[in-house]
């Protein structure tokens, strides 16, 4: 049969579309089903954060980091304060380090729950989405208990924290872990090993390791391609070197290595690893200690610059800070993991169907707040 091509249709997915995970606009060329080109247009959520940061003091930058990756604010706070502390060569108390790790790992679980849930929603499974939101809610409750906020915390400060842990936090965290650990099995039953879900995600949007590396993809997306790279393990910051945990990587269990299913499963397994870290941290945490290390009210880092990267739920978040010795940063640049994840979309999404592109986009777990900044 000769190949007869239909006319190509230019279709806009976004900015107001149910599955663009924010205000992303994808302009795709399609002949009805097969996608021949994907052009992402970003900037709909651009709030000039980096420029703002050049006009506020160092401590006032923290709320901006909250609002970048608004699904993993704790991790963003963490990245910034770790960079600042290294620039200023401050050592923070033990208890603070533990609390930070606990918060960051809880945040990782919460963020992955949202990523997995919306991914399920993208392939049409509605119920797992709400199950995951139900459990995410418990984590948010704990954050609320700690610092009063549920989404944007402004919790980690340079040299310390805004509040100490409330009374009963450790117990309630253990209760949550006991509740949550069996739930992972439930997610496996309802979604991960569902036949239709495997059909939809296995072998779809395969991202080979070399493509992932050359695009600078990081985090669970990179590990889904089988590259064992986790900054918590490979360049340990804070106190991550004290904990015993694995770095789950994709093994191509249901299809080619680096497909959507692998990325999904890496996130799911990672939640289990976070539980491991949390259990260790919650046991080892010093009972008492001041969380407000005495540092000057106005932070004046020495002249110089620092680039520090940390592992957020989405991957490799880097902060490049240039200090000219004044209380206001001279330049602050964020290297956002979601941005690189989005840039690979055209490469791995081309030639797939419209529904696959939605699935691939869901599997990359982008957050537009962080891309546009």
């Amino acid at each position: 049969m000769g190949v007869v091509h239909g006319q190509e249709m230019v279709l806009n997915i976004g900015p107001q579309h149910p599955s663009t995970h924010g205000v992303l606009r994808l302009q795709v060329k399609t002949d009805g089903e097969i996608i021949s080109e994907i052009k992402p247009f970003i900037g709909y959520l651009h709030r000039c954060f980096e420029k703002h940061c050049e006009n506020v003091t160092y401590e006032q930058v923290i709320p901006f980091t909250d609002r970048c990756d608004y699904l993993a604010s704790m991790a963003n706070n963490f990245g910034y304060v770790v960079a600042m502390e290294e620039l200023m060569e401050i050592k923070v108390p033990e208890r603070v380090e533990y609390i930070r790790v606990i918060m960051a790992e809880l945040q990782r679980i919460a963020s992955h729950l949202l990523a997995l849930g919306t991914f399920g929603l993208d392939v049409g499974a509605f119920t797992p989405f709400l199950y995951m939101f139900r459990d995410r809610e418990r984590i948010l409750d704990m954050f609320e208990m700690t610092c009063g906020a549920r989404l944007l915390y402004n919790y980690m400060w340079v040299g310390g924290l805004s509040h100490d842990l409330p009374i009963g936090f450790v117990e309630s965290a253990f209760r949550f872990l006991d509740y949550f650990e069996p739930k992972i099995e439930e997610y496996n039953n309802i979604l991960t090993y569902n036949k239709i879900f495997i059909e939809r995600t296995a072998d779809v949007g395969v991202m080979p390791a070399d493509v992932a590396i050359s695009y600078g993809v990081s985090g669970p997306n990179l590990r889904g391609s089988g590259v064992k790279w986790d900054i918590r393990k490979d360049e340990p910051y804070s106190i991550y070197d004290r904990f015993d945990f694995d770095v789950p990587v994709g093994i191509g269990e249901k299809g080619n290595l680096g497909d959507c299913w692998d990325r999904f499963n890496v996130r799911l397994t990672e939640m289990g690893e976070s539980i491991k870290i949390l259990r260790q941290a919650l046991t080892q945490i010093p009972k008492n200690g001041d969380v407000h290390q005495t540092i000057p009210k106005k932070i004046r880092p020495p002249k110089g610059s620092i680039y520090k990267r940390t592992e957020t739920p989405r991957g490799d978040l880097g902060f490049y800070i240039i200090s000219d010795g004044s209380p206001i940063p001279n330049r602050l640049k964020m290297r956002s993991p979601a941005f690189t994840a989005l840039s690979v979309l055209d490469e791995i999404g081309r030639g797939w169907m419209l529904s696959d592109v939605i699935a691939i986009l869901g599997s990359l777990d982008i957050v537009l707040g962080e891309i546009d900044r």
Binding site: G6, L11, N12, G14, P15, Q16, H17, Q27, G32
Partner: protein, 121 residues
């Protein structure tokens, strides 16, 4: 015979009446405050980029053509199925008759499959 269909005619009148009354009612009851932006076809919040009514993928036509062919064959099976039990008293001819018919159908089906008309790319 034909009076069996009379109730269906009444059902049609009731269903159509309900449908059209609702259409008219909503036309009367609803507000009408239009502006060009509201009337613009939805394209995820941006102005429509290109023509909507274009030549689209040939596969949809192929599916439609295949459907017509197979559906007609299935329609032929219905009268056969109705009289099948009665005709069995005359021997197994009716069975083998249909086996031949189905064999031709399956031959066409295999041909279509081998040519890739059932594959979506």
């Amino acid at each position: 015979m034909i009076e069996n269909y009379f109730p269906i005619f009444i059902v049609f009148i009731v269903a159509a009446g309900f449908t059209f009354v609702s259409l008219i009612m909503t036309h009367i009851l609803g507000p009408r405050i239009t502006n060009p932006v509201k009337l613009m076809p939805y394209e995820s919040g941006v102005d429509p980029l290109a023509e909507t009514r274009i030549r689209f993928s040939i596969r949809f036509f192929i599916i439609a053509l295949l459907f017509i062919i197979f559906d007609i064959e299935i329609i032929f099976l219905y009268p056969w199925a109705v009289v099948f039990k009665d005709f069995l008293s005359f021997g197994s001819f009716i069975f083998f008759e249909m086996v031949i018919f189905l064999a031709i159908l399956v031959f066409g089906y295999v041909y279509v499959w081998r040519n890739g008309a059932l594959d979506w790319e």
